[in-house]
């Protein structure tokens, strides 16, 4: 019988193996580097809806109904998100007996203070239609979900009063333009939060529409990333929670660098030991508001001055005095991802010191905490000097403060609309609000280096952070 393969082929294979195995065993291996880009979500090509959607639309609700014909669950999914409810899940907080929720729907900040009673303007950024001042909003009406806010081409769509489509919008054109959300959809509200470009966040502003690589390595880099590349979205549930609108945040619900940067080794042991105590953002976001300035101070007490000239960056009669700052170092705090405290309506004011709107949780002894960069927004905002809590004036609308320039009427209106009792005596209290910084990320060559924090010229206040002194000499936390 003739063998299919002569026996000498066995020897040949043996020799080849005998050579290849040791060679590959001893060949220097280049460390397999995880490619972060490999973790980016795959994007499906969006179906062009131009030929799918037709008909005449006169209201937003009609458009939504059209969407729901095919995307049956879409509205229900959106309604399960805080984009719709403007309110967090329930938290047990130590200073209240009942569970509480936090959100624009029911709490205040130290910018425009409150959306309650100011629905006319504020709802421009709500993902629904027709939320008005005097009636309880019906959160169950599916057709009130505004699909276009996130899916329309923003050159064809805009929102107006009470969240309704702005006047003059061609709803058919807007509906036909729908696609996966782009930076424009998110940016319209998130870049302009607080009523203007870059007001609220130090790390989110209109410069991110067309960012350079030196502004943000992710969005401006060669990957040209979109918001949803990090804020992974499934069934309209968008990953990522805002600290200021929560008390604690489940890490599972938060965006993190580790989603893509699985291997965080820097090829430098000295740098890597920092990972235990320093967040990625701390070194890789050396400065805030790199191109467009952001508001760092807002003094409501100066509002309403007759004859003082308005200037967008320093004074507006309706809002008071401001400070804008650009390209400045963040404030550093220990941070474990949660708030230690979040001001709830009715909470007392610290008359002689600072009242925290929110205070990030963490300390040098908290092993889950890392040093993290924040934008601190300081404000002087009204409070009831008798009841000793912060007030939430109605500003928008006919009888609002922005029309009357009479604080009394603003507070009275709030008592009517929100049920926040007003004693008739008010003053202005200093409040702090901390905004975590996580965008405008810089590449390694622009990140902080040793001398940025350590040594005489360093930017860290080590004693304030709880160290006996510069840890380069005194050692890190135990």
């Amino acid at each position: 019988m003739k063998q299919r393969f002569p026996t000498w082929t066995l020897g040949l294979i043996g020799i080849i193996l005998l050579i290849l195995i040791p060679v590959f065993y001893f060949l220097p291996r280049s460390e397999a580097k995880n490619n972060p880009a490999g973790y980016l979500p795959a994007k499906a090509v969006h179906v062009d809806h131009t030929d799918i959607i037709n008909g005449e639309f006169t209201t937003g609700q009609e458009v939504t109904r059209a969407c729901l014909e095919c995307h049956e669950d879409a509205a229900a999914q959106v309604m399960a998100t805080t984009h719709w409810t403007w309110e967090s899940k329930e938290f047990d907080v130590p200073w209240r007996d009942e569970p509480v929720t936090i959100g624009k729907a029911n709490q205040i900040n130290n910018f425009c203070i409150s959306s309650q009673g100011n629905q006319k303007r504020c709802m421009t950024c709500h993902v629904g239609y027709g939320w008005e001042e005097y009636e309880e909003y019906d959160y169950t009406v599916q057709e009130n979900v505004d699909c276009l806010a996130c899916h329309a081409d923003m050159s064809a769509y805009a929102k107006g009063e009470y969240g309704e489509p702005a006047e003059g919008v061609d709803l058919l054109a807007a509906a036909q333009s729908v696609r996966a959300p782009s930076r424009d959809n998110c940016g319209t509200c998130h870049f302009d939060g607080g009523g203007g470009n870059g007001v609220k966040h130090g790390d989110l502003d209109e410069s991110l529409y067309f960012p350079s690589e030196s502004l943000d390595v992710h969005m401006g880099g060669k990957l040209d990333m979109l918001c949803t590349d990090c804020h992974w979205t499934e069934n309209h549930q968008i990953l990522g929670r805002m600290l200021t609108d929560n008390y604690t945040i489940d890490p599972q619900e938060q965006v993190s660098c580790e989603q893509c940067h699985v291997d965080q080794q820097h090829g430098d042991e000295r740098i890597d030991i920092h990972l235990a105590a320093v967040a990625c953002q701390t070194c890789h976001i050396p400065a805030l508001a790199l191109e467009d300035p952001t508001k760092t101070y807002w003094d409501w007490s100066q509002a309403g001055q007759e004859g003082r000239e308005d200037d967008h960056f320093t004074y507006l009669k309706i809002k008071g005095e401001f400070t804008y700052d650009k390209n400045f170092a963040p404030t550093y705090l220990w941070f474990n991802g949660n708030n230690e405290y979040r001001y709830l309506l009715g909470d007392p004011v610290n008359e002689n010191g600072v009242t925290y709107i929110n205070k990030p949780a963490g300390s040098i002894t908290d092993q889950n905490a890392k040093i993290f960069p924040f934008k601190l927004h300081v404000a002087k905002q009204p409070y009831d000097t008798n009841y000793n809590y912060l007030l939430a004036p109605i500003t928008a609308g006919e009888d609002g403060y922005w029309t009357t320039f009479d604080w009394e009427s603003g507070f009275q209106l709030a008592q009517e609309r929100m049920g926040l009792p007003y004693s008739g005596q008010y003053g202005f209290a200093t409040t702090y609000m901390y905004w975590p910084t996580t965008h405008m990320v810089q590449s390694a060559d622009k990140a902080l280096q040793c001398d940025s924090c350590h040594g005489k010229e360093g930017r860290m206040d080590w004693e304030a952070l709880g160290y006996p002194g510069d840890p380069i000499e005194w050692g890190g936390r135990k």
């Binding site: 020897g11 050579i19 040791p22 060679v23 220097p28 430098d268 280096q449 040793c450 001398d451």
Partner: protein, 913 residues
Amino acid sequence: MKRYTLLTLIGLTILALAIGIGTALAAPTPAPTTQASVLHPNFILLDANGANVLESGNTVSTMQTCGQCHDTTFIAEHAFHSDLGLNVYDANAESFNTSNGLFGEWDPITYRFLSPANDERLDLGTAEWLMLNGARVVGGGPATTSRGGEALADLPASKSNPETAILNEDGSVSTWDWEKSGTMEMNCFLCHLESPNNEARVKAIQAGEFGNANTATLLGLNVVGKNSEGWSWNADAFNELGEIKSEILRIQDPTNSNCAACHGEVHADATPLTIDACDFDYPQTATTGQVISAQRINQSGLNLAGKNDLTRPWDIHAQRQLECTDCHFAPNNPAHVLEAQESNPSHLLYDPRKLEIDEYLERPDHNFARGASAQFNVAPELKSTMRRCESCHDTNKSHAGWLPYNDRHMQVIACETCHVPQMYAPAYSTIDWTVVRIDGSARTECRGIEGSDTATDLVTGYQAVLMQRTDIVDGKTLFAPYNLITSFYWVYEDANGSQRPVRQADLEAAYLTNGKYSADVLSALDENGDGKLSEDELTLDTESKQQLIAGKLEALGLSNVRIEGQVQPYSINHNVVDSKSATRDCAACHNAESRVTAPILLASSAPAGVTPEFVSDVNVTATGSIVNEGGALYYNPVNENDKTYIFGHNRVPWIDWGGALLFVGTLMGVAGHATIRFVVARRRNRQTTATKPVYMYEAYERFWHWLQTVAIVILLTTGLIIHRPDLFGAFSFRNIVTVHNVLAALLAINALVSILWHVISGEIQQYIPHPYGFIDQMIAQAKYYIQGIFNQEPHPFHKSKQRKFNPLQMVTYIGLLGVLLPLQGLTGMMMWLVQKVPAIQDWFGGLPFLAPMHTLMAWLFASFIVAHVYLTTTGATPLEAMRGMITGWEEVEVSEHDSEVRKKEAKKESKKK
């Protein structure tokens, strides 16, 4: 009585409790945080007479002031920064150097010569030396004390004593009044204040007001002011006890900026760093290009080539917050007690008997730990006492996983060679004092910049040259980076027969008349005839120009004038980069163009016929050669002179040419032989000889043979790539070396196992010739290859399983497997082992012998393979032998002879039985 005792007891208990509670309550009082943590107390500023300056209004005396608590006499006596070579001053030195420090060591950059007593011509007197070098003199030593050890102020004034004389601009000599000028004590403030006023200090020194210099250091600090009447001490800066307030005059450890005042560019803040090219006010930077800063290079204000990509800091140690004093420490500082413990008896790991901090603060040793730079020779006994790379870094760990042959690399290469890959600031290359510019300065050349302004002209930086540095501590000689500064200057012989550099004053007299070039000089040097001398024209590049100047110098009364040149290496140890920016590419050195032998420009134009000499008596040896290329001088390192062999760079031409010739010769010989065989065979009809199949090779024999074949072929190929990486750029040098080593190990194991097999199976006999008639048989076989094979004669030797090799084969294989292969293995093994056993480097010439031998034998192997493969085609059919080696079965010719032999053997066999 009882009651009294009880009462007392109760009373005591209450008291104890009260104290206890009080203490407990008092304990958690937080430490006051507002008070600045000033360790140094307030102190009285004393003048030279020991009176408070606030009362006397005099200048401050540091020796008196600091001497209140610190032993200033001890400090001044233990400070080479202060002594500057004074204690070894030797007026009768053979060379220009009358000491080993700034006071006496002649430096061609500053040029002026510190005249010893009784010289024919006074150049620098002590006072003018101090004015000229004051920016780099901390005081004390030669600034207060004469060469003979007396106080300068006590010297009798005399024009003939260089210590009390000064050369005037017009060439005349006057006496110097030390009483009037004062002398300059060691200036504690200069190094121990955060912002001493160095500018005012230097100004005072340059004005010859030496006694004012230390007080001037305090100007502008709200402590003291100066007006036409003298010093006015600011009473507000002093407390009610008459002490200066410590928050006003804050005494501190020296910072990098303090060291920078004399040494070079240190940049600590965030403003973009700017420097002037080759500015000798920053000597360390001007001579080497070293810049101490944590700033990223691309953030600096220099117009650097490729700046955008230079994101690393200027100096990694500065970035990582190290201070100069961390490595250059005071030797008796108890914080550095571990260094001092190196002299412990061997059984002691730690000796607790050390200075206490208060003892140290009273008498801190200011003879700081120093390196072994080639340019500074003061306090030679302290060379290499500092903390060095290996004092902090473990090279085995830091290079683990990527640098092959770590130990070997460490045996020959200093850390700085790879970790200071490039200098980014310009540095001097040439100082030509054979000519003078119109302002009396020398013609200079600066490397690392195309022009002169670092902000507008392109700064390219430069690559330091590698020289052989012999370590003073461990005696190891390593390649280390240096800048070379070449100087040319006129020398004359004075009346005492001493060699002296021609005085700058005499040079100016020879070149200039009334502040302009003399007409004869101009006409000789001005080549383009524009009436000016450009930097290019300012050179004595012809004999006639030199003769003209020599004549003019001789006319000034100088005899035996001639031009000399010297090359001074400047060590580069700072501006270290981390592993990511260090030289990591094997091909940087292991290539035809090697970092190790990269040349450096000495001077783009040099005086005709002058070859400068390297300074002697330093731990740097120049084993390369100085070459002249079109008027420019270069230094070419020649690593072969350093007992090193760099794979991929070094080769021995005759071995390569000889080997290649042998290989090509064999190839051509074989080709010729094959052609004749082919042609002859075509002409004649092939006679079919009867053949029979024979099981010629056991499975193991074939396995062994082919494994060896593959291994050798791969070894030859990879060896060739390692030998000539410039021809095979596509391959990773490092991977190829690994493959080569693995295959070599495989080949060696294969050979050892096969020896065992051959001995056990008795097959070894195949290789042992039977002496009887062996030579005849060899001749017969050779004749067959030369003649018989073409005539299709039968093989003179008949291959059988018992005797596979013909006599020629046998001899070849003995040579190949018995001599060549072991030798090749042995040389290869030693080359590999030299990293672990450095002694091999001393056996028969080390790598420079082993490596070329290895190459030579590789050529022999390659040639053998060609012949061997060809001769396998001389079997029954051309491919038969090869088939035999693959399958084991080979068709072998049957012949009369064959059968006879078989019969004989059969008989022998039967007889044995």
